[in-house]
Symmetry: C2
Amino acid sequence: MVTIRVLVADDQEAAREALRLILNGEPDIDVIATAVDGAEAVHQALLRRPDVVVMDLRMPGMDGIAAIDRLTAAESAPRLLALTTFDLDEYLFGALRAGAAGFLLKDSDPDVLIAAVRELHQGRGLIDPQVTGRLISRFAALSPRPATPELDLLTPREHHVLRLLARGMSNGEIAAACTIEEGTVKTHVNRILTKLGLRTRVHAAIYAYEHGIVTRDAP
Amino acid sequence: MVTIRVLVADDQEAAREALRLILNGEPDIDVIATAVDGAEAVHQALLRRPDVVVMDLRMPGMDGIAAIDRLTAAESAPRLLALTTFDLDEYLFGALRAGAAGFLLKDSDPDVLIAAVRELHQGRGLIDPQVTGRLISRFAALSPRPATPELDLLTPREHHVLRLLARGMSNGEIAAACTIEEGTVKTHVNRILTKLGLRTRVHAAIYAYEHGIVTRDAP
DNA sequence: CGGGTCGTCCACCTTTCGATAGATCCTTGC
DNA sequence: GCAAGGATCTATCGAAAGGTGGACGACCCG
């Protein structure tokens, strides 16, 4: 049997010990270290190389989210399970954005916590059922609208020009990229604006972003 | 006990009947209708007003995602549980973006399906544990980077101008909104570009989007 | 074949934008 | 007090963007 090496980070003595006892009660889980704040968690994690870090989000000094941010940036980063008493969107979204692989509220059963650690260790993610709905809503809100029928109005050339425009290129740069005259690009831009009912190239760039024609660069 | 009214939509006869049997086996669940494709599902849902719709994603004609899109646009929309055999990102993300409240793979246990229907009926969301990790990854990728230290460089006025700019307003419009001269706005824009290391207002708008200074409008 | 539509291209003219220099006000520290 | 620095404001000028008109070729259809 493979032993899962776990680091527990929580500023409250009682919670820290409770977590340690719960997890150490399992034969396949070994709490190899604990930390009382984010800074110590980062230090211990880099030193001891746990498989999974159970991280309280609300801690003095460097908080849990900042610590998660640091740890996921490291090489061979551990799997991060965010844990919190307070069910705030800011914690949920912040932790996931920072790179947490799991999110649990502290009122969960010990069994759920144990199962969560195992899930994470096997490469899967885990979201507390109480907050899954909100994650889904937020995800839907963040997702680009699919291409609308309006985009069919654009010719291939116009579509290409729109993508370059939305990356911040000037008419001159677009012209160079397409090997055509700048005056021609202006016409294309103009037709794009007309067809999509927009006023300036800034609107066109926004449109491209909101419709997923261009995507945010990978971090 | 409240009875949960369920609509089952699946193009395959066998799957449809299996789902019906599983769900009708529960005393608090009543499958009130079935549908063989997306179009019929939409029609039946609007007619029979189920609490929960169990929707197969891969169906001929109007597929499940399109049907979900239609149904969530309706008033007093039912809760939508997306179900699929094929574990494709396109299905997962597409269904959630369209408005599904839950996503399950078809190899799940009957008990899981039943529990999912109850969860959805109680207003919660549900994601198959097998795909939770991917949803989290995608969510993190979509989430705007938190405000970078660079933003501290911007004065309140400049920050405000940036937000208006990123909504497509011209210098003149920004001037009117702030009750200052257009020439002044130009200076603010110029300082924004300088401080953030950008070249044109289009870059500034892109920057604002990528850093979550402005958010996509609600659909 | 001839006419219509569409995509692509270019040139001219006006408006808007971007860069620069300088003025005023307010805070901060010596 | 007053000097230094920053924030906010204004004005001017060359550069870029946007609006309009029109040319050319490809294609479809009667």
